[in-house]
Symmetry: C2
Amino acid sequence: MNRFKITELGKDVFWLRDTERDHLVKVLRLTPGDLVVGYDNTGMEYTGVILKIEDKSVTCRVLSTDHPDVEAHTSVYIVAGLSKGEKMEWVIQKGTELGMEGLIPLRAKRSVMHLEGSKAQERVIRWQKIASEASKQSHRVREPQISRVCDWQDLVVQLPEDTQWLIPYEEEKTQGLASILDILDSERPIAILIGPEGGFDQTEVSLAQEKLGAQSVSLGPRILRTETAALATLTMVLAHFGDLG
Amino acid sequence: MNRFKITELGKDVFWLRDTERDHLVKVLRLTPGDLVVGYDNTGMEYTGVILKIEDKSVTCRVLSTDHPDVEAHTSVYIVAGLSKGEKMEWVIQKGTELGMEGLIPLRAKRSVMHLEGSKAQERVIRWQKIASEASKQSHRVREPQISRVCDWQDLVVQLPEDTQWLIPYEEEKTQGLASILDILDSERPIAILIGPEGGFDQTEVSLAQEKLGAQSVSLGPRILRTETAALATLTMVLAHFGDLG
């Protein structure tokens, strides 16, 4: 059944507007009587039947309400140094499927892609759309939020104070990620700091260690591309807490 | 230092020919006296200095020989149902970085991409090139082998008899991958069977269970795309055996 993000939820009814309405009407060509699944990012899922299709909205009657156990139980965020478009989009799409809670794009020293002002805002909107589509494809009921592009200075305020920070780092030769997993608290948010192509430079790693208390970890002897490191770390953390089967 | 696959290894000298020679000369424009790293897929690594550049070969003197502990200690193969080009290439590139031993392309019932005869051979050559480039980028000393495209009938002969087969399957609701990891033997090869877009159909899963003794496993409640499932499973297996830090 096709899945949609609910624009407005009423008593026994929900409405789909804007892109959700247009996608239902113009792309999927659904009609009154067709069944759909709606979610409102609270964790709830609503099976509904289309009652009415209008120029600006689709009205659906709620047939049943569910609270599926589909979301990861541990909140894991990816903080990604800005890297070339395709890499960021892969991390957002795959990270959403795997179960990340959100992604924060970070302006890193070695970022080759520079995003400022309206360009940055437009890009975040596009990234959010990728997260939204991946959420529907993977049957999630809470879409990961893609935050605005931030700098090191305002990174700390993006996540709760009790966040546990991990920073995979090629120069970390002693502390493997596996050795850290056991001391992580599944009840507190976890943030994975991933550099751009070329990685973080030493001053950024020191900054993360001193200001955020980040633990630098090794992912083993093979050099991983930035997008591979991001998804491998996310997978290992979620798997450790039983969120990947 | 730039890395090359050795064409021929002699006493205190090695030669690079064909694409390795051309890449060194035409793309990297290295000259006699420059240092390079060579590997011969045996696990050994050779630091050499370029002595002579000729039309058909580059001759290097071996300065030092090393046996870096960079390869995964557990042999994990991915058997991938043929899926659209980019997905296969992504799995090969990332799988190589993560440490897979090899990949076997499989003609699955729901494969939308059909590869036969010379077309299949050409595609395998291109896939092997992607594995070779990813091996150099990740500093591996043994390139994963991309096997010829095979069918279910000849799949069993592609891998050793004592291979342990895993088949992530959406309809598997009880047995999570995590519960299987503990009973896997790290000394025996492990093969991960991944379906094409749309997944394997029930008859294929039954075939794998009966003929190969494959264990069907769940990757959790979220629906993963085929390429995401392949790399998440590879990551979880390698991480379990300490091969990812």
